[in-house]
């Protein structure tokens, strides 16, 4: 008996068409910017009449992009690493220990999920100006740690749910000191969750723009801030070329992660059979 296809035919056709249309909307800017990147004229026109790779060459030779990329790497490296270490530590403590002010600490750490970035950026900018400090890497890294920590925390919490506490007790009862339990039992078992949290933190930090705009100086300018300043100064398709680089790298990373790790599982959108 076939009751599965009780859907009237217009709906059966309309469904896939609707999905295709929405996906087309998602892809439209990606496709358009890619075509614009190969334009040989120094204006943003669509479609290009003649093709050229000169804007890709300019991406590689424009020195501000290089220094922006370097700053971004420094900030992303430290911010994602620090956020991972702090996030793991606090997630374990929250799940396994009770201490005074636990709920308050958690609430404060999760706050950047809803507090606008421009508010945090403005706050840190004023704070640094008041204390008379330089707007160096330290404050920028602190800012990124504040912003990405909630995402690391969430990712580690989810992994902690599946961690059997008895394994830790077993190790401890066999004489392993707490530090050893942490590094030989907990951290390896949390591995995939930690990696997921770190990756997410790194991507967010690398792309963070709004708060960074407030607290970077010329010498600490990260890549997104450099890109923003470029658009304000020039109207040529160099940024389109850089966008293409971004798109290719991001899509390949995602396809890679999906193939080897199964994004559906990491993102928790897999149906249980």
């Amino acid at each position: 008996m076939k009751i599965r296809h009780g859907l009237p035919w217009p709906l059966r056709v309309a469904g896939p068409l609707l999905i295709a249309a929405i996906l087309a909307f998602m892809l439209l800017p990606v496709i358009v910017v890619t075509l614009a990147a190969f334009n040989d004229k120094a204006i943003l026109a669509f479609p290009p009449k003649h093709w050229s790779l000169q804007w890709f060459a300019r991406v590689l030779t424009y020195s501000d992009f290089q220094s922006g990329f370097n700053s971004s790497l420094v900030v992303t490296f430290w911010a994602s690493l620090i956020a991972l270490v702090i996030g793991t530590g606090i997630a374990i403590t929250v799940k396994r220990l009770d201490f005074k002010g636990k709920d308050a600490l958690q609430a404060i750490l999760m706050m950047p999920m809803v507090v606008p970035q421009f508010t945090i950026g403005l706050g840190l900018l004023i704070l640094v100006a008041q204390v008379g400090l330089d707007r160096g890497y330290a404050i920028l890294i602190l800012c990124h740690v504040i912003l990405v920590l909630p995402f690391v925390l969430r990712s580690v919490y989810v992994s902690m749910e599946n961690l059997d506490e008895r394994l830790e007790h077993a190790a401890a009862s066999l004489g392993a000191p707490p530090m050893k339990v942490l590094f030989t039992v907990v951290v390896p078992l949390l591995g995939p969750g930690l990696f997921g949290g770190w990756l997410f933190a790194a991507i967010l930090s690398f792309n963070e723009f709004t708060a960074s705009l407030f607290i970077t100086t010329e010498s600490t300018q990260t890549l997104p801030v450099t890109m923003y300043n470029y658009v304000r100064e020039f109207a040529d398709p160099t940024l389109a070329a850089l966008s293409v680089v971004y798109i290719v790298v991001t899509a390949s990373l995602l396809a890679f992660a999906n193939y080897f790790l199964g994004l559906g599982k990491i993102l928790n959108i897999e149906e249980s059979p």
Partner: protein, 284 residues
């Protein structure tokens, strides 16, 4: 005695430092919103409420209205577009097709605000994709204005918000127990009825969670209204930036931020109340 007690200090104190950083940033904003602005100086005068009365001008009020309007519109449209996508993502059986939908709907999330917004300027510009296509088709003679308009900003914001909405809705839909749908089916309900009376209500928690996120994200969005709006679609974020970094009027920028924080808090409360009420109706 818990084995981690001895490590407690080591595990907690770094997080406390970060929490202190967050609090000091927010307290600084709060404090500066109550200080007198001294023109031409970064130092501020005594305590006052003048900044808040200074915000009672039409430019700030309309930016406030704009921001709320943009947030609600973006929330509604991204929900309408993301739901079918999330549904397809979870329910499509073909693995390859599933991967394609997943990667196509997620890639924009990881591109960063600047790349996404810049790409939209190429789509919406007067020599951009939309205008070129419409002109080639003979539908328009002169370029229509899409850049620097409310419509253009909403379009780009919806595009920014869809990926995260798809993720949250996908998580909700994938956790629906399909036995309920099968039960409805065996009782003779047609697919449309099953969707409306079973699937949709069961995904309500996901719908509310993703609405909250979409609203909060749009409320604090900066790059999109700044680059696509180009100053003609002022929002809280663009004005705070202008006041803080261009005019260096920290007190006024801070008081505008405080208004933003208050509005965020109120809307989160409203969403929270709605969630509780819906859960009660749903009998969860």
């Amino acid at each position: 005695m818990n084995m981690y007690s001895r490590l407690k200090g080591w595990l907690i104190s770094p997080a406390v430092i970060v929490a202190i950083g967050t609090c000091s940033a927010l307290m600084t904003v709060l404090q500066f919103s109550l200080r007198t602005y001294v023109p031409g100086s970064l130092d501020v005068g005594g305590f006052t409420l003048d900044n808040f009365s200074g915000l009672m001008k039409s430019i700030y009020l309309s930016a406030l209205g704009n921001t709320l309007c943009l947030s609600v519109e973006t929330m509604v449209f991204s929900l309408l577009l993301a739901y079918p996508l999330a549904y397809a993502l979870v329910r499509v059986r073909n693995r390859a097709l599933k991967s394609v939908i997943l990667i196509m709907s997620l890639t924009p999330l990881f591109l960063g605000e600047i790349v996404r917004t810049y790409s939209w300027t190429v789509v919406l510009g007067s020599n951009g994709f939309v205008n070129t296509v419409l002109r080639k088709l003979g539908l328009i003679e002169w370029p229509i204005d899409l850049m620097f308009t409310h419509f253009g900003v909403v379009l780009a914001l919806v595009h920014v918000t869809i990926p995260v909405t798809v993720l949250m809705l996908g998580a909700a839909i994938s956790h629906i127990n399909r036995d309920y749908e099968r039960a409805a089916q065996s009782l003779g309900a047609n697919p449309v009825k099953i969707f409306v009376t079973v699937t949709l209500p069961l995904s309500m928690p996901g719908i509310l969670a993703s609405s909250t996120t979409a609203f909060a994200w749009t409320f604090s969005a900066f790059a999109t209204p700044q680059m696509i709006g180009g100053g003609r679609v002022p929002t809280l974020s663009t004005l705070v930036y202008q006041l803080g970094l261009s005019s260096l009027n920290f007190p006024l920028a801070a008081s505008l931020s405080v208004i933003g924080l208050a509005l965020t808090a109120v809307s989160l409360l409203v969403f929270g109340k709605l969630t509780v009420r819906l859960k009660r109706i749903g009998g969860h």
